[in-house]
Subunit: 506 residues, 2 copies
């Protein structure tokens, strides 16, 4: 009932009751027209929200603020991810936070959460972007770009029931790397897996494994097992849940909810237990059912070539051909992959973490063509790093270890032991700022020296420069190391050079 | 008529006509119920949108994609801005892209563009954030933070009529720096102006001026001129247009549209022509009208102190006390400022740029209290850098000069002159990536050498490493400088060290 969805149920009922009956006379005897009634309903609704704004200080469901502590962790992780993308020659780009709704619809399959729609305020039907892949495909088609290696770091929004404890929010950051263009088979695909390995190793999250499969093998397996083609995507969605649900529950869903014949489900069940290295690929070439399916054979052939390249990249032992990997999104057409942490770093006192997949991706050769007026295809392969989960793991680990991060980068604090030295402090800090030194002082006319030194200790500032009557008279500034508490007087004209020397040494 | 706005006009008309008349029999004789009709109207609407998705490849009105070229310029400018914020001891933070609508309403004054509301999909009334200041104030109140120096770089959304040619979009980036907390007067305020100067000087955008005024002086001037207090904010909005409109037009708006007495408008007219340095502050202390107003005197006193600190910071000559500066936003309570470029860099062939203000801000001591249940205030002062306009200026300048930017950072290209060397290239590039070197190769089994070298020249890659039969036999790799075309053979085990040496020298 799409129309009813546009209005809150109560407002709608009130409106309908007014519209269906003839306009009634109000108690004052005046006739209220329909639009007045409707307006009144809505106005009172809005008013109820506005009357006590002071008591509803909260943020939208499923979202959160990122504190300076969060930001420091994020900045470090994103720097590592982005520098890996750049190491592989990717260019940066960005797209708007929202797209025309029709660009996004029917791209994500049945298990995708709801999209955030914008209110039609007299213009276009818009939705917040749901991932960075569809906007990328739209960008390629719109600008007729046939070849591009790009990364994109940005927020996406999904109105899923938030399980916040696991670090899943309705607003979250994605880090995508994609290679668009017609190339020789499996070379870009292998590079995507190499990138995932470099990033996961670099982040030192513990041991990990990348599961690999191919949509053509999945579909070939379905066909070989007797799944009707009309049910391929629905059954694919069920299979995708195998990392969270037991086989018997997934089987139940397929049979009871999606109407699959039990014997077909059982045939699938035999396959999805299989995982292994390149030898499993060879084995599947001999499989009596799969070897009859052209699609599956194509997929297997590509996986064989992929493993050859992965060996040359030195990462084959990190990769597992896994027939249970299906990936929920509709747009994949070839190789698909998903990285999982093998053992969460459970050190003494650390709570066990269930973080699931931390990176995933695959080949989507048809998506760009869906946006091209003539259907011209641009083959693409890419990956997305699940940075939110990674942030969560790193934050949990720091919490357990009691590690603290500095949330500022201030190098020097300007202090005085005397009263009436604000002017001198302002002049001194100007010298530092103008020399590019990160410096702070207290915004007080006459702060106590102890307060000033305490500020440095609590915020981790390593150096203090001190100016007082004595220093002013002698043309010197005292430099104090916060850690060692050693103080030494430096000629004022040498101050900046001395600070820079000390900072470069530390 | 808020309710009518929820549905497109035609759908609404169709719906109304069905609802007011009794349910009619369709041609097949079946009775269609109202909700079916309503649904049909909407379904057909949606269908019209979905039937030819291929022919509506566009992005939402007033938005744009940021190409790799844009991103490179942005990254440089944002790096400079953020490093200035960090130099002054600011912490990073972020807030969700949307807030509860009631958090944002009635904060921005009459001239603010429309907010983007999200569709109520069974939860909360949400709107995209309109600036970064209100979310910051909400954050402080919600977390009971009494003191914080933070920066925030993020997108905001305003549904204004986009004048795209001037670099104004409905989605744009803001860079904010704010100091919250109770401090001795004007020290943080002066630092905000210092930061604006550092950033605008650092970006080398040409000469600039920062206009300064105080809301208490504006309001005091209004009171002294005879503006009724109920019209203060409305007249303030009119005055704010003086940088885009002539005085006579602003006067007309105040008199004809806002009902101000002509003689009151003329009194204001005398003041808003005044601008100057600290001497104008002194002069205004003697002004027969202003000197009678307590608020104005407070503002003037603070400005005098501000100028003292600005002199110590060495930036007083960049600042102009300007009585025409009013600032449109409702939440300012004290000092306000706005930086304008004095002369756009019009070099030969460059189109004249009209960019208006490139940074602005002020003191807002009441905003946090609006969100606090008990109304506890946290005084704040801050600034926002108009980075979108700055991006625009820098891009225009580069365009005029014909400057090109590299959109990748790739340092080394892996090439081969022979066929069947894909495996060797893959092994070689793995060594480079694993050593942290930014490297690319073509995704082809057997690319031509000329194609490979041409790729380096067109994308600006400085070094090529070449492997062929000869090199493989001798255990060497050839390094070629793309610029000089010089080639030299290096022992393979020394390759990484040699590349790192060359890169560090360049």
């Amino acid at each position: 009932m799409p129309l009813l969805g546009l209005l809150p149920r109560r407002a709608w009922a009130a409106l309908l009751s007014q519209l269906v009956r003839p306009p009634c006379a109000s108690r004052t005897g005046a006739v209220r027209c329909q639009s007045q009634v409707a307006e009144a309903v809505l106005t009172s609704q809005l008013k109820a929200h506005q009357e006590k704004p002071n008591f509803i200080i909260k943020i939208p469901k499923g979202t959160r603020d990122l504190s300076p502590q969060h930001m420091v962790v994020r900045e470090k992780i994103l720097d590592l991810v982005i520098s890996c993308f750049k190491r592989h020659g990717a260019k940066g780009m960005d797209t708007p936070a929202f797209e025309l709704k029709e660009i996004l619809t029917e791209k994500y399959g049945e298990d995708s959460g709801l999209m955030y729609d914008l209110k039609d305020q007299g213009g276009e039907l818009l939705s917040l972007r749901y991932d960075l892949t569809v906007p990328f495909a739209r960008y390629l088609a719109m600008n007729k770009v046939k070849k591009m290696k790009r990364y994109h770091v940005g927020k996406v929004w999904r109105r899923e029931s938030p399980t916040i404890v696991q670090g899943r929010y309705r607003e979250f950051c994605q880090c995508d790397f994609d290679i668009a263009g017609q190339f020789d088979p499996m070379i870009p695909d292998a590079e995507c897996l190499k990138i995932m390995c470099e990033i996961l190793s670099g982040l030192q999250l513990g041991d990990f494994l990348i599961k690999v499969n191919d949509r053509r093998i999945v579909d070939g397996m379905f066909a070989a097992c007797g799944v009707p083609e009309s049910k391929f995507r629905a059954i694919c969605s069920s299979i995708d849940k195998l990392d969270k649900m037991a086989w018997k529950d997934v089987r139940h869903e397929m049979v009871a909810k999606k109407g699959l014949a039990p014997e077909v489900a059982d045939r699938i069940g035999d396959y999805v237990q299989c995982h292994g290295g390149v030898s499993l690929v060879e084995q599947m070439f001999q499989d009596p059912r799969l070897s009859q399916n052209k699609q599956a054979l194509e997929g297997l052939g590509d996986l064989k070539l992929l493993f050859e390249y992965l060996t040359l990249f030195g990462i084959a032992e990190k990769i597992s051909f896994d027939l249970s990997l299906a990936r929920g999104l509709d747009y994949y057409t070839g190789v698909i992959y998903e990285a999982v942490l093998l053992q969460t770093p459970t050190q003494a006192g650390e709570e066990p973490l269930n973080v699931g997949s931390v990176a995933a991706g695959g080949r989507y050769d048809g998506l760009v063509g869906m946006f091209d007026p003539k259907g011209h295809k641009v083959p693409c392969v890419g990956l997305s790093i699940g940075v939110e989960r990674i942030f969560y793991i790193v934050e949990q680990r720091m919490k357990t270890k009691g590690e603290k991060v500095r949330t500022t980068e201030t190098q020097v604090f300007v202090a005085t032991p005397q009263k009436n030295f604000l002017q001198e402090r302002l002049k001194l800090i100007t010298e530092l700022w103008d020399a590019g030194i990160k410096a702070e002082m207290l915004y007080k006319n006459n702060p106590k020296l102890l307060t000033q030194l305490h500020y440095c200790e609590s915020t981790g500032i390593p150096l203090v420069v001190i100016i007082g009557e004595q220093e002013l008279k002698e043309g010197v500034i005292k430099i104090r190391s916060v850690a060692s508490r050693e103080e030494v007087a430096i000629k004022r004209e040498n101050l900046v050079a001395e600070i820079q020397k000390r900072l470069s040494e530390s």
